[in-house]
Amino acid sequence: MSYHVNEKGYYGEFGGAYIPEMLYANVEELRQHYLKIMDEPSFKEEFHQLLKDYVGRPSPLYFAKRLSEKHNTKIYLKREDLNHTGAHKINNTIGQILVAKRLGKTRIIAETGAGQHGVATATVCALMGLECIVYMGEVDIARQAPNVARMKMLGATVVPATSGSKTLKDATNEAIRDWINNPVNTHYIIGSVVGPHPYPDMVARLQSVVSEEIQQQLLEKEGTTKPDYVVACVGGGSNAAGVYYHFLDDTDVKLIAVEAAGKGIHSGESAATSVLGKEGIIHGSKTLLMQTDDGQITEPYSISAGLDYPGVGPMHAHLYRSCRAEFISITDDEAMKAGLELCELEGIIPAIESSHALAIFKDKKFKKDDIVVVSLSGRGDKDLNTYINYFNL
């Protein structure tokens, strides 16, 4: 069984391209060209050069000694937090802007929730001298002021999404509507493994540099390319797709996906899509999503702005449905405690998204010699206000 996308754009029963005809030409153009472009030697060279010199890759695979001692297993942290702009998001935006340039696009649009993907997009647009428009929910603009300022400094226009719930899903809707209205010169850089095919596959491939590095780094440190477990938090799922990618079809490597339970799975304020979601269509993809019985998409909640997407990428829906990955839900409180624990034991302030992945060690027990790789997908600078308020610092 393969856990990669098939030629029709599906992961098992999930995926596809459920898009209105107005988007067909745009998406089809991308579908026809993305693999060919990403396979060109000149693309690969430019992509890897930028990842090395501009992003700072490879990101370290750090053996977290004190954390490992505490939890009685071998924990390695994949340090995506050390990337330029502070998270894994930049791997995807670098790749997509190179694809966009080769398609002759001159105008870039993106959606953003907390602002991390928006900043990563604004960054590469500045680097390449392309116009950049970032859609962001009005509510998120108000609560993520520093990232809004960053995007503006980088030359991007930040457009408030005022429809619906005025958050990430609405920002995504607005970006899609922009693309409908500007079909010729514009490329839409989606920030996660969501949206119509080929986006989930393209973003997963661009993020797959992370698992490729893990294999090499683990070989040096442990004499094997295979960890026993790979752990990542999942909102839309791009960081998880990146750390899983080269292990997807190797079932010796167990995959753990960590979702945000918010204030508790059944509290009505949660983002645990695998538990609360049902099969449906969101942003052009058939996947699991949180919705009413009537099929209206509902608003998720998490203390972490990067995890409150009402759906999950189709790859992850398939990993869940096929039981290839184990899904664990972590509450706000558990995540915040795990974040503080990493600060105290390892001197690293993690993004609250990544803290969710770190929180599994409280209840889930591993063997002493298990190699557990955890994706430290982002740094916590952006979350300082949330940490301050939560811990009364």
């Binding site: 596809g16 391209a17 459920y18 898009i19 209105p20 005809e21 107005m22 988007l23 067909y24 030409a25 745009n26 429809s163 619906g164 899903k169 609405d170 809707n173 899609i176 509507r177 409908i180 209205n181 500007n182 079909p183 010729v184 049902k278 099969e279 449906g280 269509i281 969101i282 942003h283 052009g284 919705q291 019985d293 009537d294 099929g295 209206q296 998409i297 509902t298």
Partner: protein
């Protein structure tokens, strides 16, 4: 014969009106349909509101948000429409996004449409391939006409394919845009209308997007069978309410 196909055989230009069910008030649905028929429109698209309408501009989005707040649901809409065929004889089409239909159950939804007297469906985010492979037989079993969109970006090959799968009319989106984004037509649109007319398709074309009054209606129907007015009608409803529907339609028919 399906009412849509019958209507398309009439020797006249079709005036079709879109409105969002449950807007401005939850219980306005039946009264809007009856008033539109009385005012002389040929066909009605009843919008099933959705939380995330990707293809729609602010006007229809806004009406959908209000309709959902008012309490509109798929069940509620069918309940409101259960006696509609006692008073209304013109073709009725439900236009909605795929997710609510999927949650209701595609076959259950089609059966309910047939029972209610709905003649066709427009589901913009149900791709033609998926329809053809998975749902066509279900739609046809219940005698429903499924209507596909084409845009100025749609290739000739794809238009021919859509034409071969269609059994009513083709919904011609006038320009690359969401609903209500543009008003009026330039030579670019006229050339596009002519190009499609010259393709001699099996299905006739009805134009939507950008039609707001008599002038744009006439421009749109010069080379096509008819035109659909949506956002402009929603704006009229917001401003003047259900009581003044006749005036809006009279201007277009004048």
């Amino acid at each position: 014969m399906n009412r849509i196909n019958q209507k398309l055989q009439e020797n006249k230009k079709i005036v079709s009106i879109y409105f969002t069910a449950g807007f401005p008030l939850l219980e306005d649905t039946v009264s809007i349909i009856e008033k539109l028929q009385r005012a002389g429109v040929d066909m009605i698209e009843i919008g099933l509101p959705f939380s995330d309408p990707l293809a729609d501009g602010p006007t229809i989005q806004g009406s959908s948000t209000i309709a959902l707040k008012n309490g509109m649901t798929t069940h509620k809409l069918f309940e409101q429409l259960k006696d509609i065929r006692k008073t209304v004889s013109i073709p009725l089409i439900i236009m909605g996004y795929f997710n609510p239909v999927l949650q209701y159950g595609v076959e259950t939804f089609c059966a309910k449409c047939a029972e209610t007297g709905i003649d066709g469906l427009i589901i913009p985010d149900l791709p033609v391939d998926v329809y053809n492979e998975e749902y066509k037989t279900i739609f046809e079993r219940y005698g429903l006409v499924n209507i596909f969109l084409i845009t100025p970006q749609t290739s000739e090959e794809r238009i021919r394919y859509i034409d071969s799968v269609s059994n009513g009319f083709i919904y011609m989106v006038s320009s690359a845009s969401t609903t209500g984004a543009k008003s009026g037509f330039g030579t670019e649109q006229t050339d596009y209308f002519k190009r499609i007319a010259n393709m001699q398709l099996k299905n006739q074309q009805i134009v939507g997007f950008g039609i707001s009054n008599k002038e744009t209606f006439e421009q749109a129907t010069q080379f096509t069978k008819g035109a659909i007015i949506g956002s402009a009608f929603i704006k009229h409803l917001s401003q003047y309410g259900v009581q003044n529907i006749n005036e809006f339609i009279a201007e277009i028919l004048s």
